[in-house]
Amino acid sequence: MAKQYVSATINGESSEFLCETQQTLLDVLRDVIGLTGSKEGCASGDCGACSVIMDGRLVCSCLVLGVEAEGSEITTIEGIAEGEKLHPVQQKFLEHAALQCGFCTPGLIVATKALLDENPNPTETEARYWLAGNLCRCTGYDKIIRAVMDAAAEMRGETVA
């Protein structure tokens, strides 16, 4: 079957690509466009390593078809920092040592950004439930949750001792 033409805005830039109808957005990002920051951990929407923000909504890009991206606005891990300036969530992940192997990290950072865009002042429980779709096998989540809460506080302009 012929490939489909798709036009979307990815990380603020207009992007055009051809994809097979059955190709997922994750495959398109990784194999067609070359944005390999989004990871495949399960391809079934259970691990969250492929999390991206699509039209303001947090999605697993492995559960979205490439053709569904037509006309949409997508933010991937590569679009979180502003140039060389890290997003506060990225900075706090580094400061709190909230990563070990780093494989789940892109998805967790994207998911955290989506959380804080929607709820700038989450409780620990809200953060834990929001991130329950992002598996991390290394950290036990402790330092991730601390990084998330600290990033939220900083983005609200509060300083945390």
Partner: protein, 755 residues
């Protein structure tokens, strides 16, 4: 040199890791992120049957499909004779590993590889797999460990005769070996005992469940040179296994370590690399392979499930006088469960006069087990530490007091031979006693559990290289894949010795052609052994820098001191000179002997064993059987925390994996021997909302055999959680849960059975 009593500026602080920015921006390159021109996709044909003879494989239709460039089966690989392997972690045989990578005459578990294809797209590769015509003769299968031990069980290997028994058996069996350890006279000990506790416990196989599936990219060039990019815990291990399985010279294979997305022991052997190289050789193209999550569950190693019996005998005052254990560990389809450590670790925390331990290594129609964090120890400790709790209850002694009374100390001779030295178990128990968690009252409905754990930790062969670059900046290279922050800890030790900030040292993982041999990342050995090599390399560089300063100043080298990254004259007698820093010395390198660098290889001995104790509070929902972890504290002797954040991270991560093992994780099989929950939806690892904050308490009893006093820290934390949680459930409900996982249906059933 030894820095244990030195005042340290870098070691013990918490700098940002050198590979951090790449990992928070998506730039870090994991194995599946690599691409090559003209690349093909490789896929594996896997058995749908738990046990079957391969009658025939016809690949002609697959080969004829447009877009298919190579198909391989066992016929494309050399037949490997039985030979004990010298690489990897845990017992391994080259023939078994070869047969695990590619079945030859029989498939031994659902998911067992028996063919592979390389095609221009993944879709064509999938189509080609469906065109391979395999005729199977289905054989009876066996999944359960005790059923596999039965006299009438289906036999997996006709040539497996149980070792470790006398006389040598004449009939093949699924029991690969029997291991025994005896100390004192256990029966006499039980006769002396006032109180005896007996229990039988079972655990289920659990998967390491790293989030990154196995992946590699391999090229076999027409001159026989092989390049592999892969995710593993040891690129030298990948090279050795690939060379052996394909009959190649190691020097013809260069393995580049990709970033590794978790391993926990599960990436200490190969599955894909030899297949990718064989496909590349046949097709003349680069081949990329990656497992699906289903493949990871069905075909890569979980750790053993087991049945364990424990008997403890104690005097009224709590002194344990006899301890007995029988352990039956699943090895999967090939021999090699962690039964040895299983037999050693259960009682290693205690000073016991009379011990009898028997262990069985048992094959069945499951994927071959791989190492998983403190291999074998969590299983045996779940049993022993559950029994200890029951013993404390029966004696009317507090759980901590019972452990204090019997705790192993320096000089305690273990039942498996060695005598404990420089251990910190009593310090760990003292930290439990004084911790606010242990002293805090329980809320209504809550139960509290305590359990302890032990792991040997290992040392072994490592190489590290320290360069002072032309501008005076520093690069440290090692052969150890960085699985959880070791680049940070290695760089910090080098920075400490050189007297420069941590950020001045860039640490990298060098490929197999660029640095001396380094044993894989496992056994909690990297910060200890590779750290030792890196420290020594940095010391050599300092000596060299002092010599160069002496040459420039024309004074004896003994008259030069090295402080805070600068050479100084040792005193006014030595002369008046402006100090020389790394940049100045690097600038003059050509005139003082050429490039400034040192490479050190070690075979590190004296990895200090680690001990931990976990305190856990739970509530149990009687209606649903759901267990909620309310509070969790993990206390561990870490020797010296080089980068405390990553030490805490190891402890928190290990504890969370233990929580999953305790409460949810298991392999579920149907009656055909097929796994029914090969995905993260049904194989349920802990998510953020399942766990509380996990407080990691670092006890530092220095290991005198490491320059900074470090011990391995990564494995101990997965040992205590299962019993800590079981004991907490016991405290909350009065129910002893002897079977893992303590999932809602099981807990609910236990309530129902208790009435």
């Amino acid at each position: 040199m030894n820095y244990i009593t030195s005042s340290l500026k870098i070691v013990g602080t918490r700098p940002v890791r050198p590979d951090g920015v790449d990992k928070v921006t998506g730039r870090a390159v994991f194995a599946a992120d690599t691409r090559a021109s003209g690349m093909l996709w490789g896929k594996v044909l896997r058995s749908p049957h738990a046990h079957a003879r391969i009658v025939s494989i016809d690949t002609s239709k697959a080969e004829a499909l447009k877009g298919v460039y190579a198909v391989v089966t066992a016929a494309d690989f050399p037949e490997i004779p039985s030979e004990e392997a010298f690489v990897g972690e845990g017992p391994m045989n080259f023939r078994d590993l070869a047969l695990n990578c590619m079945a030859r005459t029989k498939v031994l578990y659902e998911g067992h590889a028996l063919g592979a294809v390389a095609a221009s797209t993944q879709a064509i590769a999938d189509e080609a797999l469906a065109l391979i015509d395999v005729k199977y003769e289905i054989l009876p299968h066996v999944i359960d460990v005790e059923e596999a031990m039965a006299a009438d069980a289906p036999i997996l290997h006709d040539d497996m005769f149980t070792t470790g028994v006398d006389p040598k058996p004449t009939k093949p069996s699924n029991i690969a070996k029997v291991v025994t350890f005896r100390k004192g006279d256990v029966e006499a000990g039980f006769k002396e005992a006032d109180v005896i506790i007996e229990g039988r416990y079972t655990t289920q196989p659990v998967h390491q469940a790293y989030i990154e599936p196995h992946a590699c990219l391999a090229t076999y060039a027409s001159d026989g040179q092989v390049q592999i990019h892969s995710s593993s815990q040891g690129h030298f291990m990948v090279r050795a296994y690939t060379a052996k399985l394909l009959g190649l010279n190691m020097s013809d294979i260069r393995v580049n370590p990709a970033e590794i997305g978790g391993g926990f022991g599960g990436k200490t052997l190969v599955y894909l690399e030899p297949l990718a190289v064989a496909l590349s050789k046949k097709s003349g193209r680069t081949v990329k392979m990656q497992m699906t999550r289903e493949d990871v569950f069905r075909a890569s190693g979980p750790t053993s499930g087991a049945a364990v019996e424990v008997k403890l005998g104690a005097k009224k005052d709590g002194t344990i006088v006899a301890a007995k254990q029988v352990l039956k560990y699943q090895a999967g389809a090939f021999a090699g469960s962690p039964i040895g450590p299983g037999c050693m670790c259960g009682f290693a925390m205690y000073d016991l006069p009379n011990v009898d331990v028997v262990g069985y290594d048992v094959v069945s129609n499951r994927p071959k087990v791989a190492a998983y964090r403190a291999p074998g120890a969590p299983i045996t400790s779940f049993a022993v530490e559950s029994a200890m709790d029951d013993l404390a209850l029966k004696l009317g002694i507090d759980a901590l007091t019972l452990r204090e009374k019997n705790a192993a100390k320096n000089g305690t001779k273990t039942h498996y031979g060695p005598t404990h030295q420089n251990i910190g178990f009593t310090a760990v128990l003292a930290a439990v006693k004084s911790h606010p968690h242990w002293k805090s009252p329980l809320k209504p409905g809550q139960g509290r559990g305590l359990a302890t754990g032990f792991w040997f930790n290992i040392g072994g062969e490592s190489t590290a290289l320290v360069h002072v670059n032309e501008d005076g900046s520093v690069t440290a290279a090692t052969g150890s894949p960085d699985i959880g922050g070791s680049r940070a800890s290695i760089g910090m030790m080098v920075a400490e010795v050189l007297g420069v900030p941590a950020s001045a040292v860039r640490t990298i993982v060098a490929d197999t052609a660029s640095i001396g041999f380094t044993h894989l990342t496992g056994g909690s050995r990297v910060t200890f052994a590779t750290g030792m090599a890196a420290t020594q390399a940095a010391e050599k560089v300092v000596e060299d820098l002092k010599r160069r300063a002496a040459q420039i100043w024309d004074i004896p080298v003994e008259a030069v001191e090295w402080n805070d990254g600068m050479a100084y004259p040792a005193g006014s007698n030595a002369g008046e000179f402006e100090p020389l820093g790394l940049a100045e010395l690097a600038l003059k390198a050509a005139r003082t002997g050429g490039p400034i660098q040192a490479e050190v290889s070690v075979n590190a001995q004296g990895a200090g064993p680690g001990f931990g104790a976990h305190i856990c509070d739970v509530t149990v929902d009687k209606e649903t059987g759901h267990v909620t972890i309310e509070r969790y504290t993990a206390i561990q002797d870490v020797g010296k925390a080089i980068h405390p954040s990553y030490v805490e991270g190891q402890i928190q991560g290990g504890a969370a994996q233990g929580i999953g093992w305790a409460l949810n994780e298991e392999y579920i099989y149907n009656d055909k021997g097929q796994m029914e929950n090969a995905g993260f939806l049904d194989y349920r690892v802990p998510v953020a909302s399942d766990v509380p904050m996990i407080e990691a308490v670092l006890v530092e009893v220095p290991n005198p055999r490491h320059p900074f006093g470090a011990r391995g820290v990564g494995e101990v934390p997965i040992v205590p959680p299962m019993a800590a949680i079981a004991n907490a459930i016991r405290g909350a409900t009065g129910l002893r849960m002897p079977d893992l996982p303590m999932s809602p249906p099981k807990v609910r059933a236990a309530f129902d059975a208790a009435g």
